[in-house]
Structure formats: structure tokens, C-alpha cells
Symmetry: C2
Subunit: 194 residues, 2 copies
């Protein structure tokens, strides 16, 4: 229950739960620590949990047929990570989720999530809103990749997620933005010019 | 109510509504016809409805700063269209939704959707599942663009959506797949070779 406090604060921003409901919720979730470099999910495995991050930083990525890594998302405190498609359909995942820092997470296991919704129907609303946000962000990213220049994409990330930029290696940010590391350095140097 | 039948059949696959709930639902939605070429939503306008398609075919696309059109989704009968981001946040849309055929739709207006959820809470679950599907499809598409060859992308579309391929011009399919029209012709010719 102590570990779940940041999650409960986060949920309170969206829906109001009674004390009994909070206790019931806590009986359905798990707390878990990961070391830096450990995987929460590996490409090819079935995603068995949805994770809320209490502390730390993760990257979600996939490796294509040529062995190239493509980063689709970074997650830090008060955000979520998992391959929702694999979780919902219980089929092998297309993604890896790896910890870039030692991380603490709250896990919603697949086996208990239905009973959680049955016990607290208003959590359906909460999860609908979370997934809406994720879907909208995913669509915005598709558009930005087409319609913004490399420089604009970096500027947008820099202004929107300054706290993430400080915590990840430059080559990972370059991968996320679809650049080479060298190109990212060039873009950043140009922006520093008066 | 008569017009809403396909929607009610579709909802029944996900949740069970009582007769009173179906009547209440029908009091909160609108039926609307569009001509071929008309817009359900124009880039820059605020999306005021979520649309379920009864008949017809639509494309969702955006135009980048260079005037280039990028198609992100086709929708036909028993599927949805709207810019969810614009709808949820009531901010100007990044997308256009245009009818490629004369189309009939059921519209869920922004002003009534909250009262709909209040009256029938289990619709939260229904919409959560629809958005999950859309989000998962959007993530799969990002991966496919990175990890499949042009030929494989066409083959996947061809096997998954044969009914859409027959209804849309080739140049639009090419835009959706990220090819030129000429390149799509070449890919199709190669696949026809014994």
C-alpha cells in the first residue's frame, strides 16, 4: 500500500476512489524493482503486465530484421509502459521494454485486471482516458515525422520533455527522433548559435 | 432507431445493453448522410463528433507544409473515424476526414457523450476496447513502416483489407503505404509473376 501512493495520487487526478476501493485495488497489483539494464518485457515474449513507473526510466523499442534498434517511447515517473497489443491479445510482443536506470514499478497483472474492472467499474473510465492519451500521442508522432523538419522535431522534444533529455544517452534520443547521433549533434550546435 | 441497427449489432459484440439503454443511446446520437467528396472533418477545425460508418468509405489524411497529402487511415462499414485527439481536447484538428464514396454515418456528438457515459457506464468499457484496438493498430503500423519491405507492406494490406483495396484509387493506396503510384504498380506486377 505504501508503494502504491504515487499511483493512487495519479488516479485521483482522474477518478475518485473510496478507501475500500483503494484497498481492493492494492490487493490486485504488484510492486517490483528492476536493475539498470534489466528487461520488463522482451520482444517475442507475451506481455503479462501493464506497468506504472514509480521511479526510474525505461525505453520501449524494437529490433528490425537488419538488427537495427528503433525506440518508440521513453517512460519516467508517473507514466506507463507495456506493449498494450500483446497484453490485450496475449500474443508475443513486437517490443522490448528495458530499464535505462534502476526502476521501481507497479504492475497490473493480466490475470487480475478483469476482476479489478469488475470490482471498480469506474477504473474502466480511468484506463480509457490513459489509452486515449497514448493513442493521441502516437498519432501526433506519426504526423510530426512527416511534417516537421529534423531541427523542429528536436526542438519539440527538448521543450516538451526536458526532464527526459537529461536522463538518456544522446544516441538513444537520436534513435527516437530518427536521426544519427552525428546529425543530432549538428542540429544542437546550430541551435546554440546566436 | 432504424438507422442505428448496425451500430447496435456492433456494440452487442462487446457489451450487452438493455432495451431501455438502447433507446437512451439512440436519443444521444445522430444519423447523417454525406456526398462523395464531402468532408466530415477539415484540418484546422475542431472535431465535434466521433463517427461510426454505416455505409461508404472515408480517408483520414493530413497535408504537410509542402502541400503533400499523407493518408493515415481508410474506414468502411462497421468502423470508426474522427480525430480522437481533437475530439477529446476540443482543439483544432491535424487531420481531414473525407468521403471517398457517398457515406452514411452515426455521429456521437461531443456535447452528449459525457451524459451517454453517465447514463450507460458500461459504454466506457466498450469505448476503451475500441480505442485499445485503434492504438494497437497505430503502433503496429509504425513498426511495419520500419521493419517490412515495400512489397511486404503491400502484401499485408492486400491480405488484411481486400475489401478496401477494391474501393480506393491506386494512388491513394500508394500514399497510405508511403510509395509513389509508379512504385506500387511495379510491386504489384512483380507479385503477379509466376
Amino acid at each position: 500500500m505504501e508503494h502504491a501512493k504515487p499511483l493512487l495520487n495519479y488516479i485521483r487526478k482522474h477518478v475518485t476512489l473510496s478507501e475500500e476501493e483503494e484497498v481492493f485495488l492494492c490487493s490486485k497489483i504488484d510492486y517490483r524493482k528492476y536493475l539498470k539494464g534489466q528487461y520488463i518485457l522482451q520482444q517475442g515474449d507475451i506481455s503479462t503486465t501493464q506497468c506504472f513507473i514509480l521511479s526510474g526510466c525505461t525505453k520501449m523499442f524494437f529490433v528490425d530484421n537488419d538488427g537495427q534498434e528503433h525506440i518508440v517511447m521513453f517512460s519516467i515517473e508517473d507514466w506507463w509502459t507495456s506493449d498494450l497489443g500483446s497484453f490485450v491479445s496475449q500474443t508475443p510482443s513486437d517490443f522490448n521494454v528495458q530499464c535505462l536506470e534502476a526502476s521501481e514499478v507497479i504492475q497490473f497483472p493480466y490475470e487480475t485486471i478483469e476482476s479489478l474492472f469488475e470490482g471498480i467499474p469506474k477504473l474502466e473510465r480511468f484506463f480509457r482516458k490513459i489509452i486515449e492519451q497514448a493513442f493521441v500521442a502516437s498519432q501526433k508522432r506519426i504526423i510530426q515525422n512527416f511534417s516537421l523538419s529534423a531541427k523542429e522535431r528536436y526542438q519539440l522534444f527538448h521543450s516538451k520533455y526536458p526532464q527526459i533529455e537529461q536522463r538518456i544517452p544522446q544516441y538513444m534520443l537520436a534513435s527516437y527522433l530518427g536521426f544519427t547521433k552525428e546529425f543530432l549533434s549538428k542540429v544542437k550546435k546550430e541551435l546554440l548559435k546566436p
